[in-house]
């Protein structure tokens, strides 16, 4: 089905626009998750459309990156909420090292 290809591409665009246009860290990580979802959809499309299954091991890498995202968000949430800071990326201008 060719529609799945277009849906994956549009979803990736929405995620990319979210990363570029937002300043809230949580929303940026949600956008990255959307981009990862779109890449899984595109790899699923590739698996079903061709007889050669090569490249599908990248799905495992995407799942690993998605797990890593959640971990990093927990650490950042812990640090930022205990300071009382808002989840604004401007905060990282002040952090050192």
């Amino acid at each position: 089905m060719i529609e799945l290809f277009y849906i994956g591409v549009i979803l990736f665009g929405i995620g990319l626009a979210g990363v570029v246009s937002n300043r809230n860290i949580i929303l940026i990580i949600f956008s990255i998750e959307l981009m990862l979802l779109s890449s899984i959809i595109l790899l699923g499309y590739g698996l079903s459309s061709s007889s050669n299954p090569e490249g599908s091991e990248m799905i495992i890498a995407i799942w690993a990156v998605a797990a890593l995202d959640a971990m990093v968000l927990v650490a950042m949430y812990f640090v930022l909420s205990s300071i009382g800071s808002k989840f604004d990326v401007k905060f990282f201008e002040e952090s050192k090292g």
Binding site: M1, E3, L4, I7, I10, L11, I14, G15, G18, S21, N22, N24, I26, L27, F30, S31, E33, L34, L37, S38, I40, I41, G44, Y45, L47, S48, P53, E54, G55, S56, E57, I59, I60, A61, W63, A64, V65, A66, A67, L68, D69, A70, M71, V72, L73, V74, A75, M76, Y77, F78, V79, S81, S82, I83, F87, E94, S95, K96
Partner: protein, 160 residues
């Protein structure tokens, strides 16, 4: 054929709409719920491509990530545990479980069905080629976990 196409378009609109509304919702909790809905739509789309094992694993793995996001956004919103919220989250969990049940029932989880699946086939045929790549991938979340612990430890000692 036409029925399948209509279902695919409906799930596509559902996925894209919920992904688009993430940025327009008032609270972060609503954003995380919309993200969950877009994940469900995405895995249903993969299921429609007859990659049932991939859809199943994708939904199971991302539910784990989403539970973390729910905890974070709920603690950020400081929502009280009212009956209304309880009802809302019960409905959401019923939707997630129903989609899991649909995928489980449609997935061919017998020996020949699994072997026919493209996602499983790739790991049977390419096991030796990408052995070290998969090892390297396994170290990525490990390094991320250690990094997160180090950030928190450093903050507890000195502050940023």
């Amino acid at each position: 054929m036409l029925f399948e196409l209509a279902i695919a378009i409906a799930f596509g609109i559902f996925t894209l709409g919920s992904a688009f509304l993430i940025y327009f919702s008032k609270s972060l909790l609503h954003s995380s719920i919309l993200l969950a809905l877009s994940f469900i739509g995405g895995s249903m789309l993969i299921l429609l491509e007859s990659q049932s094992i991939l859809a199943l694993l994708q939904l199971l793995i991302f539910v784990g990530g989403l539970s973390t996001y729910f905890i974070i956004t709920i603690s950020d919103e400081k929502i009280k545990s009212t009956k209304k919220n309880l009802l809302f989250f019960s409905i959401l969990s019923i939707i997630i479980s129903a989609s899991l049940l649909i995928i489980f029932s449609l997935a061919k989880i017998n020996e020949s069905g699994i072997l026919e699946n493209g996602f499983v086939q790739s790991f049977i045929s390419l096991e030796s080629t990408y052995y070290y790549f998969l090892y390297a991938v396994a170290f990525a979340p490990f390094a991320g976990a250690i990094g997160s612990i180090l950030i928190i430890r450093r903050f507890m000692k000195k502050g940023l």
